[in-house]
Symmetry: C2
Subunit: 653 residues, 2 copies
Amino acid sequence: MLKEIPLKQIQISDDFWSFYINTIKEKTIPYQYSVLDNSPYVNIENENKKDYFEKDKSNALENFRVAAGISDGGHYGMIFQDSDVYKWLEAVAYSLQVNPDRKLQAVADEVVNLISAAQTDDGYINTYFQVKEPRLKYRMLYSGHELYCMGHLLEALVAYYETTQNTAALNIAQKVVNHIDSVFGYEENKIHGSDGHPEIELGLIKFYELTKDEKALKLAEFFLDIRGKNTEFYKEEMARNEKDGLPIKMIKVPHLETYLVAHKQPKDMTEAVGHAVRMLYLAASMARIVHHNSDSEMYVACKAIWDNIVHKKMYITGGVGSTTDGEAFTGDYDLPNDIMYCETCASIALAYFAYDMFKIQPDTEYIDVIERTLYNGILSGASLDGIHFFYVNPLEVHGNINDSNPDHGHVKRVRPQWYSCACCPPNFARTIGSVQRYIYTIDEENKTVYLNLFAKSRLKYGDIDIIQDTDFPGSNSIHYTVSSNSPYILKIRIPYWCSNVKITVDGETFDNVKNNCYFEIGKEWNNSRIAITFDTHVMAVKANSKVIADANRLAVQYGPFVYCAEQIDNEHPLSRYRVSNDDIRSAVIAVENCDIGTVPFIKIDTTVESSEENSLYTYNPQIEYTTAKLKMLPYYTWANRGSDDMMVWLHQK
Amino acid sequence: MLKEIPLKQIQISDDFWSFYINTIKEKTIPYQYSVLDNSPYVNIENENKKDYFEKDKSNALENFRVAAGISDGGHYGMIFQDSDVYKWLEAVAYSLQVNPDRKLQAVADEVVNLISAAQTDDGYINTYFQVKEPRLKYRMLYSGHELYCMGHLLEALVAYYETTQNTAALNIAQKVVNHIDSVFGYEENKIHGSDGHPEIELGLIKFYELTKDEKALKLAEFFLDIRGKNTEFYKEEMARNEKDGLPIKMIKVPHLETYLVAHKQPKDMTEAVGHAVRMLYLAASMARIVHHNSDSEMYVACKAIWDNIVHKKMYITGGVGSTTDGEAFTGDYDLPNDIMYCETCASIALAYFAYDMFKIQPDTEYIDVIERTLYNGILSGASLDGIHFFYVNPLEVHGNINDSNPDHGHVKRVRPQWYSCACCPPNFARTIGSVQRYIYTIDEENKTVYLNLFAKSRLKYGDIDIIQDTDFPGSNSIHYTVSSNSPYILKIRIPYWCSNVKITVDGETFDNVKNNCYFEIGKEWNNSRIAITFDTHVMAVKANSKVIADANRLAVQYGPFVYCAEQIDNEHPLSRYRVSNDDIRSAVIAVENCDIGTVPFIKIDTTVESSEENSLYTYNPQIEYTTAKLKMLPYYTWANRGSDDMMVWLHQK
């Protein structure tokens, strides 16, 4: 079984990711704290067109103060508002691990103390239920999110403890685990259900990994077993509340169990259904528990869900979730580009799931998906200034449609400062802020290091030291300097998007190295040098013909970057361009400085439909085409220059 | 000003429309009566994915019996369930006018008597409010539909009286008008508002046209003037109900006034917005009142709305309403093919609006739209068996998407037997059942007859007698035999979709007659003969480049018929075909007998993308094409052979 390497043992010094890691430290984390603490300068938007969530302020920290008895007032915000603080704290933990900062740590310590003060003696903590609805504690697992929040709390506390050895953090976590153990389980006097939103499972497994407290692992297994065992569980809860005259507090969804991904037991699942983030947090915990219990039935389910997603339900950007209705997966090959959901959190969860699958069976396909999400669908979740965020990441927008058609009401063209449902912004911070974890993975048992991603960085772990020197993605040459006290196998991922790969290991040259696999070298390393060079070309991408939305269209990718066309860079309306496979493959990279920094644009000599019609319909038209240049930029940088039309999938000639 | 010719003065004997008129008489009318009278053999569906309307039965007739005190029980169904009966009665009136039937008339007379029995002494009639919510009478014009229902009642009674001289019908109508006059108007003690759903205006104008009761015309003018004068009117009504502890009973819509098309006064309107049927019933009444008061300000508004629709918001099928959210118009050129609404009723209302515009200013553009709706978007509203109905008329469906993506939940692929909201089925019956009205129009003042549509028929009106002999749409030759006692001008519409038009009038031949206009002949007619021949070719249609949904696509039209491809007729998935302008123009008509009768299929020698990919995305693909035949059939006949994929707009080569 492979293991993640602690962040502090991977120093990153590249331009690409370091920009984000520094932005998150310098801007995102302080900004998000100010939002959570009710900065008056923040304009909060609803994440979809339904305009009925409270959005005057976040109040997330104040909710804890109220629960702790420090402040007066009520609870404000979503039922899961606490989790915004927890994800922020987790982001801080990762930032501190690689960039110690006493001031920031002091702020975070205070937050830990505040959480501790709010936690009740029995270990329970959820400010919504403590302050606003004590009657409903654990009576509405279908939408209460109590365990969901505690799962994020455990993840945050484990990370924070690992970084800072803050014992208060560990104590809170232990109390939470003991508390959950006292309330949930197979025993007759305990609740035989799991949270409507998976997440506690991941928190419990991580707590187990830190403390080896078997109780936590057993609880995670319990939640993964009890889910979907009684498919009527949530409806019975609702009926009980109704009978007792208590409010229901659940949005209308057509198939409740499927929406909650509790339509069957996880081990029996064969495809991705329901709410995408729920599905993928669940899948990630299913894969992660296999690390510990080697449950082969569960692994088969994980693999089936994985295959279903990556072969039938994943956007080229690594986005998932084809509908806003239930923020959900739909059918195989149903990938609309303009009214989809593609929530930032869902791509994040897909990366988590992928990494836990990789650690079970280290195939490049998992890193391919991690890379796809990181460089595209997750990164597009934030603006380059680090303080504006997308919830929904479309692959095509047209201003006049978005402004006038309510079916597109959830698709924004400018990243807002914050959301009433603010799950994505701190999720972005914790994920991209710890992106180093994906560069290297270790298999201690087999003395193997997996070198997954190209990025200037240094790994020092145990007796191995790898210095990776490269300007990637700005260059196609990578140099490793490797030392170890014992023989080690290095497995270097040669991505699917490069060609003509040449590798030299201490003077010995390998030509025409196969791509789309790991290149393996096992030896004793003594300041040994590995050099890799490869070619990259602009690539045309075709979707499977079963994808109706992409029929007669092509996308453009360069290296790991999916490209898009924005109207601001182009003379003609984007829907008028007609590109061919050859046009794209002949395209050139043109690095330019512009408002958003140095951008490797792609310029394509292609064709534009130039007919000018006045009427709505023309009969037996003379369709005219003229040559034109189409300029594209990496998808993750879109919408950083105002509100604009954008297309990923271009019309084919 | 032009005038409609009473139906009984137009005898139709063609194959095409007579089939429908007979089907409506023999099947649709009896079937719909049985539904309205709670036949146990009917399976009722909701018209959209929201599954919360009562749909065990129609109960529409029983509601009247309850209101009349003949039956016990409550009200069942929609707030506007009464209108289903009224539209059915109107359909019966038109059917009886051309095909007298004592038995059917007796049934209809009974319905009139039932309505009369339910009407209160003061003239009010609405079974929902009488039986279920007397407290809310005229207190919720925003969604109460009382005047909407009475509008349909007036239309039905006027038609029924014109056909049968049933004085009970006229009495009910007069009582309704007197009643409305006593409640609504500018006077201080009257209500200063109009119905949230326009329709009463049309009913009142038609009553005025029959009776010359000025009160009715004034009332219609009042409703068209008061609408949108106080844009807060409906919100004030809601506030009043809330204050008085009464239920609100209104669906959530983002912009109430726009949804209700009461965002401004009709005379100030410049574009089509809001709920499509509301907008178009309103527009039809605006145009129709101009017939009587020549209000030039109102006419300018009508023309602006018209131009906005036909140049920017109308589907090639004559469908309108681009979103299910509010069943509404959206922005200019926003015409999605797969998640639109295109309600049958909206196309019907567009035809009504078009005809009233035509009668003000007889241009071919109005008849073009009437023809477009009749032969396509309206006709698709019913199955060929006459007893299954579409509410939503999509231009593209794919089974796997429709079944799995809730954003397509309102789009059905098989016509249901009935709907919980059953506006469309009887609207279809009354509209197609009186289709003759569009064939000829008279301008008595200028002694002119407009010959708008080709169909074997005979007009006898006043001193003119026109026999139109043709097998159109099965043939391209038309013969008229015309007699009149005085000089008459005939204006024969030469459609935009024909060419090489040759006209012979009493031996004198006109070659290369211009199409897309009226061909005018003024003379004395004495058993005179006019012969017309023309060519028709399969035409490729291109949408304006601003229509994002149709970019890089072509549609196919033959004569007035828009064509579509159904999967059942084709070997490859429809989204794989790639057609060119030339492919389409070289296509042939192949008349075949199949399950649904004799169908003029179109066969196109074209190309299909034959690449077979296993993966979701292919890089630098070899895209392969092979020749293939694509078979298409008239759009109106789709979905008569089970549930299938269908496309109108084909991918362009």
